[in-house]
């Protein structure tokens, strides 16, 4: 049996469609009702929906053999897992954003609002820039508008929210997309099945 952790939400549903098309379907996954775990004896796969930020933990600790997580989540939480395939869906960018007339205040630490403090710190550390990171859980764009911070580090898909708040992308940190990940021990004991699953999802 292969256990699969899917991220709740649109991305998870999109990836489930890919898995189903690849022959790993499971009845009722998209309509689980109150059931938390769904098993299909025909395909011998077990699915469960978890919070996107938790997928890496479920996989790293072996509760799931494989899962799907955004590259942003993997970079932020650094779970010790194999990254078997780029699913090329949920594509966006991790960016530094601010007001269009932003000028870096080089005489003091740069104030940054973000949901991704580790990514932000790594990026600015690599440049030797001193930063003051403010961790927020939502409405990140509000921070520079109200003067809480100078810039934000966040994922940008279309840029619509930024434009509506007179913000712009100042710099791209990296590309983000959904990744098919595997527990490092499961990969060894279920090597043939997991390698085949990765291949069928477009892994190179």
């Amino acid at each position: 049996m292969i256990s699969i952790a899917l991220p709740k939400g649109r991305l998870g549903e999109k990836v489930y469609a890919m898995l189903e098309a690849a022959g790993y379907g499971c009845k009722d996954v998209l309509n689980p009702g109150r059931r938390l775990v769904l098993y299909d004896p025909e395909t011998d796969v077990r699915y469960f929906w978890v919070k996107p930020t938790d997928v890496g933990i479920y996989v790293e600790r072996g509760a799931a053999d494989v899962g799907v997580a955004g590259k942003d989540i993997l970079d932020e939480y650094s779970p010790d897992v194999f990254e078997l395939a780029d699913l090329r869906t949920g594509v966006c960018r991790m960016c530094v954003c601010g007001k269009a007339d932003f000028v870096d205040p080089v005489d003091r630490p740069l104030r940054i609002a973000t949901k991704f403090p580790h990514i932000a710190r790594r990026f600015f550390d690599s440049r030797g820039r001193d930063v003051d990171i403010v961790k927020l859980h939502g409405s990140i764009e509000l921070a520079p508008v109200l003067g809480l911070t100078d810039v934000i580090v966040d994922i940008v898909e279309t840029g619509g929210t930024l434009r509506e708040n007179d913000l712009t992308v100042l710099e791209t940190i990296g590309d983000v997309s959904a990744r098919f990940i595997a527990n490092k021990v499961s990969y060894r004991f279920k090597n043939a099945e997991l390698s085949e699953m990765a291949r069928s999802l477009g892994g190179s």
């Binding site: 078997l84 990969y187 004991f189």
Partner: protein, 352 residues
């Protein structure tokens, strides 16, 4: 008291003539501050001793073994408690290990690898066969070999750690992007090398096809695949180049152990000549550590303290009979629990 796993490991290492290395819980802090890059984590619990000296609770045993060897060759094992961060807190962790100090020749290398593989079988489910689809694998790589592979593909020195990280994650798509970024040809071969997980013989054959220039550096592994047969552990060995580990610590062969049912590596080891060299010792060194807490957290330890006999009493007469009978049984080597009948029932119902 040692549990069943610890007894099995102790028995295994002693059957190969290894002597037990016993240690205190503390070492002078400078031992770790000077050798921080040899530790799994640089975070250490320190305290000021009564004489004003700065001490540390041991985060690692290998440093103590090498320090105490005084440049004398030896084959040692240990079973100790170490103190390291785990889940953002310090934890007290049980660890076993083997250290072989001296000339690291083909025999000693293979013996340590065999002991590592046999250590995994101490935890493995006897109902599952070792090897393919079995209960345990020892994953082998070699840092000199990996270096030769990278050189053969023309990976720039400054980008090697980036590619090592991609190998460690078996990130094939990441390797494609890496090759495009640095203008490296042969991305398909590099991707396959990162994904390799094959029985050692097969793996070496495939490696030779994918990267012939690195074959001379695979000699150590090739020798191992032959001698492993002598120890009966060949079925457990897998070539897996994602096993990179701490590049500051190891300098040759490197290995990790996995056991079905435990989601993390339960064993890691390799050749670490750089550590004795830094301590001014001419010795070579190869060894490994077994993370007993990972095993016990996932699959538990078999209970070995259960009594063979339980004798109950409920009055003075039955108490006397029970005590006498218990003496006889204990003299015959049985483990006997004597207990008040009512209290035994209560504790038994709670356990149920």
């Amino acid at each position: 008291m040692e549990n069943v796993y610890e007894q099995r490991l102790t028995g295994l290492y002693e059957s190969f003539g290894y002597s037990r290395f016993r240690t205190t819980k503390f070492e002078p802090y400078e031992l770790y501050s000077f050798n921080r890059d040899f530790l799994r984590s640089g975070r250490i619990i320190t305290f000021t001793d009564l004489d004003g000296s700065l001490k540390a609770l041991k985060p690692d045993i290998t440093l103590s073994v090498v320090k105490n060897s005084g440049g004398t060759p030896g084959k040692l094992y240990y079973l100790e408690t170490v103190y390291r961060p785990r889940d953002h807190r310090f934890a007290e962790l049980r660890q076993a290990g083997v250290e072989c100090l001296g000339t690291v020749d083909d025999y000693s290398l293979c013996e340590v690898v065999a002991l590592a593989a046999k250590s995994l079988l101490c935890f493995a489910d006897p109902g599952r066969a070792a090897g393919e689809g079995g209960s345990a694998f020892l994953l082998l790589s070699d840092l000199e070999l990996l270096g030769a592979v990278f050189d053969a593909f023309g990976v720039p020195d400054g980008a090697k750690s980036e590619l090592t990280a991609l190998f460690e994650a078996k990130n094939a798509d990441g390797i494609s992007s890496f090759c495009a970024k640095y203008g490296i040809e042969g991305a398909d071969s590099l991707r396959e090398l990162a994904r390799l997980f094959l029985p050692l013989d097969e793996g070496l054959k495939r490696l030779g096809e994918l990267c012939p220039a690195a074959v001379p550096k695979a000699e150590r592994l090739r020798e191992l695949s032959v001698t492993a047969e002598l120890f009966g552990v060949r079925e457990l060995l897998r070539l897996d180049l994602s096993t990179a580990g701490n590049l500051d610590y190891y300098n040759g062969l490197i290995f990790r152990g996995v056991v079905a049912g435990v989601p993390f590596n339960v064993l890691s080891g390799g050749q670490y000549d750089l550590l004795p060299a830094r301590m001014g010792s001419p010795l070579g060194a190869v060894g490994f550590a077994v993370y007993l807490d990972e095993v016990e957290n996932s699959i538990g330890a078999p209970v070995n303290a259960r009594p063979d006999e339980i004798l109950l009493y409920n009055d003075e007469k039955s108490l006397k009979n029970a005590a006498l009978r218990a003496n006889e049984l204990r003299a015959a080597g049985r483990k006997v629990l004597v207990m008040n009948e009512a209290e035994y029932e209560k504790s038994a119902s709670k356990r149920r």
